[in-house]
Symmetry: C2
Subunit: 260 residues, 2 copies
């Protein structure tokens, strides 16, 4: 059955989507794994980032989550254009799901139920979470086995990490005893600006110690360019530093997941 990996961070713009799409693509492309990428953010940035190769059809993630009729996410996902990688399509109804789930009993387990059978079809399920700890992110944490927390070298992003760590703690205690924090990944690290960067990075390492993974992702325009082109980084710019660093991160994480 698939390992479920949530990419979660309270802060906006720290590279959750870039990390989710790049890791999912690397695992599919370079490790021959069958991967499902579930976009829990109503803004549907995963589908946008992969739009050049997106398949046809698919169904409504909102319907799967809110109707509890035993429908599976696997049934509504579409081909991403990356061999071995499926992704959930854009669904404008997902915006309403947060409000609807807010009032329901057992609301936090909607996603977990909706991937029960999907897990048999994939080796990995990657969850891209929205930038706030609402019902959709909590569903992600309740359905996950592992959590990766992207964090940029900045005061505001650092402050957001404790919120997610706290949420993981609560979800583990109340809903999902297996939930593990795989680590904090430093993203958008500006190699050129060691001064400000360095100060923030030291604070993050002081605060989170060995939770901070050694593999970092530096600022590399190819990563933004790939999304503009609607392709994963490995199709768009395979020799770029962004591609190499996400490839290295993907490999290191697989090792940790298998050992964990």
């Amino acid at each position: 059955a698939a390992t479920v990996v949530a990419i979660a961070a309270q802060k906006g713009g720290v590279g959750k989507t870039t990390t989710a799409v790049s890791l999912a693509s690397a695992w599919a492309r370079f490790h021959g794994l069958k991967v499902l990428l579930i976009d829990l953010d109503p803004q549907a940035n995963c589908a946008l980032a992969l739009r050049a190769g997106l398949g046809e059809g698919g169904g409504s993630l909102a319907e799967v989550l809110s109707e509890g009729k035993g429908k599976e996410v696997a049934e509504i996902a579409i081909a991403s254009g990356v061999p071995g990688l499926d992704v959930t399509p854009d669904d404008p109804e997902l915006q309403q799901v947060e409000a609807r789930l807010a009032g329901k009993i057992g609301k936090e387990l909607a996603l977990r139920k909706a991937i029960e059978r999907s897990r048999t079809h994939y080796d990995l399920i990657v969850l891209d979470c929205p930038p706030h700890l609402g019902p959709l992110s909590v569903n992600g944490l309740a359905a996950a086995d592992q959590v990766i927390v992207p964090c940029t070298p900045s005061a505001l992003a650092l402050a957001g990490v404790s919120g997610v760590v706290q949420a993981i703690h609560e979800v583990r205690g109340q809903l999902n005893p297996n939930l593990a924090l795989l680590g904090v990944v430093l993203t958008r690290v500006d190699a050129r600006n060691k001064a400000t960067n360095g100060a923030a990075m030291s604070l993050i390492e002081e605060a989170f110690g060995e939770l901070v993974l050694p593999e970092k992702v530096e600022v590399n325009n190819a990563l933004a360019g790939a999304q503009l082109a609607g392709q994963d980084i490995f199709a768009h710019a395979p020799a770029s530093r962004g591609a190499r660093q996400y490839m290295d991160l993907a490999e290191a994480l697989l090792t940790r997941i298998d050992q964990g």
Copy 2:
């Protein structure tokens, strides 16, 4: 009575907070205006960004918004350390307010009611919105006179702008006929990477034409450094390009607000 300016964008990390704090500070410091900065994001990044000079005391924004007891935001705000600028303090309870407001009738007008008398104490009220169009952002739009939409030169940020424009349209039609879109501000523009930047910026200008304000804000490390130091950019690095560009933007916006 104060003009209420909302800084709103669906996308995370496009500089809503940096823009809200910098504009509020510039208006207070350089135009002798009395400004109130209301942080509608439970992550309380405004207070964090100004923490070195933050005053004591203050009250709960969550309580003001959810209890409807006629309490005003002005009553719970504190000194920011920037002369003439007050800010709402961190309030962990704000996280619950989104869920609580989700079910209530008239929930979208909680903030508007809570600043009715506050408006007489200030020249400008600036609203920093969270990165999703939930009850708190909608409250911001329903209470505002003008909206500024920060946008970075990227495919994902561009896609988010239409969501906010649509929300402004709906709020204007149903709740707040005076609401005006002041403009889209290009932020975190990387002067060094004209290629990828340029492509995204052309798309944004094509999509939004004269809505895109001529005053841009380029990537400047001093802006992130100021937040790490807990000071506004004008105290932290008054000669920096980030300070100059936010000063210019603040001046240009005042002219547009007065004419509009």
